[in-house]
Subunit: 305 residues, 4 copies
């Protein structure tokens, strides 16, 4: 990722420009405002704006005339209570706006989170930059043999080299074709909205993305997860770090009751009761299928063989 | 409406507490933050927080690394362009959070705007205050004889007095009953979630309500309108005043292209073309029904008789 | 609840009118179409229309050209897999439309489920019927002493009688006042949109409510729950019975993985691992607060004293 | 576009399978159910399911116990009234489910309509077919010189041939690379979720897409429009034809009051009033900018030079 001098200047200017406000602020967020947080080879996440902090959650839950509670300890305790009982509306009262640069195939997954506002760089209006995501070799996973939607071992040696070479050369070629089709030297030049269709989905796009804290937690829970594709997970991880600085109490509650929690089915619960009583449980008498049993054992740290 | 001393103090404290921020601010909004803006007899609107200003709209539309354009004149021109072409996503990049006190029957209309975050004062958890909306006599409209969903002339004399008297005494009685049912003096006391059902919908409730600028414009367009019920219209009017101070360019564009604009049907457009050519058009040759013709004439300032 | 002869006739006519369709159907739903299912004293739930069945979920998950899988056993197994992994989009592909009659205070809770389409009977346009919810004495719960948002024991004897008498007489009085204010005998008559504000929230309203199966499951999970108010829970229970007939496989999966499941926090999971190993755990060494520990013990069937 | 024999058989079987239902049906939709309606070179739109018809709109608007009104003429008149006054909720009571095959760059625009349910063919789970959109030469538009986001004249001769050749050969090459990277002959084979990133956005994807009639009208209004990109417009046109057969009254109202209507700004309205009075108006005294004046003249059929 390379920023132009003008872009660097723009960011620096915004960083250096302080205003006086009556609004509540978050120190952790102020420090990060506008900064480029790198993700993948050319991508980034930048916080452009935010609304609210831990206190705002409490304030909203109380429909309060003033700030949250009188003591910060009570604030924390109420936030934990709200999170534990999945009371989502107070968390919706905080809002964040991000500027994200990301490969198109990641954007296609991301956009499925519908409760958000999005302004994407328009390839109908402007010309896309020549920047493509090329995975590092340690991320070149093979297709999983057991899970149609998953990754297996990392590719090695010759095969890995070959893949990287293909991705690089196809990206290069497609971008050259894109430029050729757009070119107006002695020609009319193909419309941008058409020429872009030739570009593969590892090309980078950008957007402004705005959502509330509750829906952001949903995003992190689903994407900062081993089942999520690595290339979106790294964005979710970076965002999680920023949220932790923004609303530390809410983030701690989120980790305790959502991120590191587990859902146990009706069968799972009755197996646990039997296990605690000292019964010997195996898949056969668990009421679960093979794969479900394996998932269950992983949750409770039991050997499933 | 009467605030407790503690509430007044809370508001004053928040007003007097200034922070340093890197975020963009809106001077017009800073001046209004936390203030009580009275609506109806006991209601109010207070701005609790906001995100963004006119510049943020431009910044998002450009997916920019810095602020909007270099010149404020260009910002305005782009905002007008976006509004004229109903490009809504850049306006979604501004957010506002209000604290509103309003009668329950108004809240029931308001909540139909689904794209918003809401935290309402809970009458399951807390006891409602003894505050009811009693219309001023000049707002005691009769049922319209021509429009099932509208108001006619204002009631007069005896009839008006009678109505006010009924509303007052029924409110009083229902609140006394509410207290009686809740009372735990020598009794168990009915659950709050049950006792509240006895209260009429002119009782006041409160909520924190958060939405983006695009959806707020939708709210204003639909509710700051002659077809809206007076009691919600006054809230929309007050909010419109605040938005004007928050994002003056966007609001001016909104007035020009939405609030004071009109929609002309296919038939309406062809009538206009004929009128401009000097043709004499009446309902008979307009292709419109009676009521539609009347509405059309009002839009173009023509006598419809 | 009393239907007019005309309403009974309308329902009967719709029931007797069979059409030929190429769409997939659900036998269990066809049997229930248009029927009145009574809830509370004057309320009801009626299924007006539905889209899809168990097979449609599978069909959508596969983005299929035909029906689901070849064998109904495979359909079931896929549906269970989707539910277990919270893959919600295939369940969104079924839709239901209900006609519901319900007290206004229940409607106020219900409307908070935002992802739904609603058409409510308009009290601006029409006059409301004289029907109020009066709880049965066995549902007259007292305020819980331990939970601000809950119910305690049932009221008894004199106190219960008194409450019922208050609710009845206040309902009666408010409706008479409503009629008086509307009355046009020798008067103008107050506008309906104003007169209605005098009516308490135990009056019944009606609406058409349409949502997809995924969001309906959310509704049932949250409202068919001991923390939900009894008066909305009975609606959720009735709807659950209907959904069971509509999409039996999906409903069974929903019961297994959602309705009768539990969420365990990070601390809860580590306590379970220790309990299975035979450790003795109490609140002191659990990392949980008092109330959280009690909730945890209830989930795993442990005595929490 | 080529269907496999199995796919043809699946469609035929569904077409031939008739069920008995109590639900209301739409004859125009029944005839079209499951059929492939071709769009672009390999794309299509298929109606998989629908809920409701013109009568259902009326039924919902009345919160009715039976069908709509007694006379179909009254139904039509009410539907026109609702559409004219932008009462959207009754139109939300009809629902449609489509199976669509479309190029990825079209899918990226389409998905921005957030109020819809989507199940897309997963390129993490399955291998994409070798089908790419190659525009016909008559659709090879050049970049507009006046509008950054628009198309100008059609490319000709050598330039057009060159573009088609580039698109074809790059598609071919990228698909070969995709297969090579996936290949497991003597190799591990790259994970599908990674290999797909090499494919350009003119490759076809598929999804099930479900939305309500109100939001479908929004989709058609925005996409069946000269400002929309040709490649999504053809889908909107095809869907419009199907909607016309589904709900003929609602579609006629939609054409009259939305599709062929225009929005006039505050300035536009006052210019019209002056024009009707016979005043001579030009851009100079219109209060409009150059481009806005041009748009205004086009709406009222006035020469803008």
């Amino acid at each position: 990722m390379s920023l132009s001098e003008e872009q660097k200047e723009d960011i620096k200017n915004q960083r250096n420009n302080f205003n006086k406000t009556r609004r509540s602020i978050s120190e952790g967020m102020e420090e990060n405002l506008y900064l480029i947080h790198k993700v993948l080879d050319h991508g980034f996440v930048r916080v452009i704006d935010y609304m609210g902090n831990d206190t705002s959650i409490v304030q909203a839950a109380r429909v309060s005339y003033g700030e949250g509670t009188k003591k910060s300890r009570d604030d924390k305790s109420l936030i934990f209570y709200l999170m534990r009982h999945w009371h989502s509306t107070p968390f919706e009262m905080c809002e964040i706006k991000l500027h994200v640069k990301l490969p198109v195939f990641v954007a296609r997954q991301w956009i499925r989170h519908r409760t958000a506002n999005v302004n994407e760089y328009s390839a109908r209006y402007s010309i896309l930059d020549n920047e493509f995501y090329i995975p590092k070799s340690e991320n070149l996973a093979s297709q999983s043999s057991s899970n149609n939607q998953g990754r297996g071992d990392v590719l090695e040696g010759e095969e890995a080299n070959k893949v990287i070479q293909i991705l690089k050369s196809d990206s290069l070629r497609s971008y050259k074709s894109y430029e050729k089709m757009l070119s107006q030297e002695n020609k009319k030049g193909l419309a941008r909205e058409l020429a872009r269709m030739n570009l593969p989905t590892n090309i980078y796009t950008q957007w402004y993305w705005k959502t509330d804290l509750h829906n952001l937690f949903n995003f992190i829970r689903l994407r900062n997860d081993l089942h999520a594709q690595y290339e979106i997970r790294v964005y979710a991880e970076k965002i999680a770090e920023l949220v932790k600085k923004w609303v530390p109490f809410a983030f701690e509650a989120f980790e305790q009751y959502q991120l590191n929690s587990s859902h146990l089915s009706s069968n799972g619960l009755s197996c646990i009761k039997r296990l605690i009583k000292g019964e010997d449980i195996s898949q056969d008498n668990s009421g679960m299928g093979k794969r479900e049993w394996k998932e269950f054992c992983e949750i409770i740290g039991k050997d499933h063989k």
